[in-house]
């Protein structure tokens, strides 16, 4: 198996995973606003290829691919998304709040709030003298949060090993990036705060992997913080169930036709001589594995009611904790 076929497989896995989540909404098993990253797989593999176990990752409301990239085990992750007792957080966090301290992975549902936490991880790496970096992820919309600017400034001031990754799908819910991000735009902002700015087109996964590697290398080298803008498309609505009327059908068709990282890599592999049937078979096998995982997870039980009251604080205080 060539390396590129491996990337193809990883992206297939990421998409199958998201589809396994989507079906939970369709089946009425998942409530709330489930944000999927179907279409973002180019960013997912770019992250995965460059991340090392000692790196920290702080992900957004659209966190699943980043979690996979960080090595979070799929079973407890899917179980958490399905709010089962076997989940990463025993079902208390849910899909918006995935935590896996062993993989140095966390997330938050609040836009912009990922970056300061990642900055703290970067500071910890420096203090501990570790050979690692911290990755803070945001969407394009999140670059308008004050926390984005504040974090970038401090990262440069203290030359911390922070890589900010902007998953730029061009939309913040129904608001187009062009209507929310004043030109000259995200990379210019990064430079104005003293970061090295990298840009990539993550609908072309091989390019994204290479460009991300450069950005990671910059930060690992100790040259200071960097930011990588990775453009991509969000194929689904903002959340599963979003009628997505703010984008035209033509636009949505075009992005699926031209901007699908998996289809794009598949086409490239076939151009390079790969057997389409083999590629499809690989995809089907992975989809079946994830489906199997989903079945297992669905058989898991929900957390017991008493769990609602535990884990609020670590300390035990004489008269209770309020």
């Amino acid at each position: 198996m060539t390396d590129d076929v491996r990337l193809y497989e990883r992206m297939c896995l990421m998409r199958s995973f998201e589809e396994a989540c989507a079906s939970g909404v369709r089946d009425g098993l998942l409530r709330g606003e489930l944000h999927l990253a179907i279409g973002h797989e180019g960013v997912g593999v770019a992250l995965e290829e460059s991340l090392r176990p000692a790196d920290y990752v702080v992900a957004t409301h659209r966190s699943h691919l980043a979690a996979i990239a960080a090595g979070v085990p799929l079973r407890p992750m899917l179980a958490e998304i399905y709010e089962r007792a076997t989940g990463l957080s025993s079902g208390k966090g849910g899909h918006l709040h995935l935590f896996d301290p062993e993989r140095r992975f966390s997330s938050t549902g609040i836009v912009g709030s990922t970056l300061p936490v990642a900055l703290g991880h970067a500071a910890a790496i420096r203090l501990a003298g570790e050979d690692a970096i911290a990755v803070g992820i945001t969407g394009d919309g999140g670059t308008n949060s004050g926390q984005f600017a504040e974090t970038l400034n401090m990262a440069t001031l203290w030359k911390l090993p922070l890589l900010v990754i902007v998953e730029d799908n061009g939309w913040g819910i129904s608001v187009a990036a062009s209507a929310s991000i004043a030109p000259p735009g995200i990379a210019a902002r990064a430079r104005a705060y003293g970061l090295a700015a990298f840009e990539t087109d993550a609908t072309d996964p091989l390019r994204a992997v290479a460009d991300a590697a450069e950005a990671f290398a910059h930060v690992r080298s100790g040259a200071g913080p960097a930011l990588l803008v990775a453009t991509c498309h969000r194929f689904s609505g903002h959340y599963e169930g979003d009628p997505d009327l703010y984008r035209t059908t033509a636009e949505k068709t075009r992005m699926r036709e031209l901007g699908d990282p998996i289809a794009n890599l598949r086409a490239g592999l076939i151009d390079g001589g790969a057997d389409p049937a083999d590629l499809d078979e690989r995809a089907a096998r992975i989809a079946a594995e994830i489906e199997q995982l989903r079945r297992e997870v669905l058989a898991d039980s929900a957390p017991p009611a008493a769990d609602a009251f535990t884990d609020v604080v670590a300390s035990i205080t004489p008269g209770g904790n309020r």
């Binding site: 709040h97 004050g146 929900a302 957390p303």
Partner: protein, 341 residues
């Protein structure tokens, strides 16, 4: 109820998000100084559909999609309000009050006082509160938190009539008013509500700071608000079948808190249960219990209790969420306990 408006024609049945959009539309038509701004309010028509079609009717200058910059667009609202406009700013979820609290509590709420009354900040903040399965960072109500700060009015309607009337009142108020809408109502039809399902087509206001007795009963007073009013009315049915008659007070406003109406009821029933979807401690439930202590004295009370989120974050799993959000059965059980005391 506003008898005048109630006599006129009614709105057709529709869901609450459209009712809110209609109310915004009607007020904006009546007063050109009214504006709407926030995330997804214009082209998207509101995450919950509550600003649908406003952009088409009023244009970009009056209906503005903002970047995800809550602190600054709330502050922009303060500036607009100090310049003679009446912004209605949407903070998508109440949980995001943490990213914009400063401009709400140190500017909007205090500028009037700090200016010796020379500056008004007529601004409405609409925000979506409550649990619908979205876990710890998207389920909070937090009206008790905002109510702590002087200078703000805080309302949380429970039924269609009040959604329209309180929103209109907020938009007409010369003070900053925070309107907590409950996420669970946006897609509900007016006709599905037990109370206030008939909504006049004409504009009217529900006075900010006045509670309403939505069920009379002599055995205990249950004071509540927002979506918990319906849960409480359901509980009251069960209680009634068990021989207990609950008086149910819909507080409607958190600030000003209509303690008089509750005290009058408690003066008769001598028993109070507060049902609140906010965290239990340091919030509305404790405040109302204390107001009753102050109003009728310990000797005026036979039993007092509260049901609220038991000081834990809201868990994701449905089974856990149901444990921490007051449910009908818990209201029945706690009411029964108080009456038997």
């Amino acid at each position: 109820m506003n008898a005048e408006a109630a006599r006129g024609p009614l709105l057709p049945d529709m869901n609450v998000s459209r009712l809110i959009a209609t109310t915004l539309h009607d007020e904006m038509t009546a007063d050109e100084s009214l504006l709407v701004l926030g995330e997804d309010v214009a082209h998207g028509g509101g995450t919950f559909g509550a600003t649908r079609n406003l952009l088409r009717t009023f244009g970009e200058q009056r209906v503005r999609d903002t970047p995800i910059s809550e602190m600054s667009f709330v502050g922009m609202g303060v500036g607009l309000a100090m310049s003679g406009y009446r912004p209605v700013v949407e903070v998508m979820f109440a949980d995001f009050l943490g990213v914009c609290l400063e401009q709400i509590v140190n500017a909007a709420a205090k500028n009037r006082y700090m200016s010796g009354g020379s500056v008004n900040v007529p601004m409405t903040i609409r925000t979506a509160a409550g649990s619908i399965g979205v876990a710890a960072q998207h389920s909070q109500t937090l009206w008790g938190m905002l109510a702590h700060f002087p200078g703000l009015h805080v309302v949380a309607p429970s039924n269609p009539y009040d959604y329209r009337g309180l929103l209109s009142a907020a938009m007409q108020s010369d003070d900053p008013v925070v309107v907590f809408e409950h996420k669970s109502v946006y897609l509900r039809k007016l006709s599905s509500f037990r109370v206030g399902a008939e909504v006049p087509a004409e504009r009217y206001t529900v006075p900010i700071g006045s509670a309403e007795i939505v069920r009379t009963g002599g055995d205990l007073t249950i004071a509540t608000l927002s979506t918990m009013v319906e849960a409480t009315l359901d509980a009251a049915d069960t209680l009634s079948a068990n021989g207990i008659e609950a008086e149910v007070v819909d507080l409607r406003s958190v600030v000003p808190l209509d303690a008089d109406t509750v005290a009058e009821s408690v003066g008769r029933t001598r028993r109070l249960l507060v049902v609140d979807e906010d965290y239990r401690s340091f919030g509305l439930s404790g405040e109302l219990m204390s107001r009753m202590l102050e109003a009728v004295g310990p000797r005026g009370l036979d039993a007092v209790g509260r049901l609220a989120v038991p000081d834990v974050p809201i868990p994701a799993a449905l089974d856990l969420e149901r444990v921490v959000i007051p449910q009908v059965e818990a209201i029945v059980a706690e009411s029964t306990r108080l009456v038997e005391k």
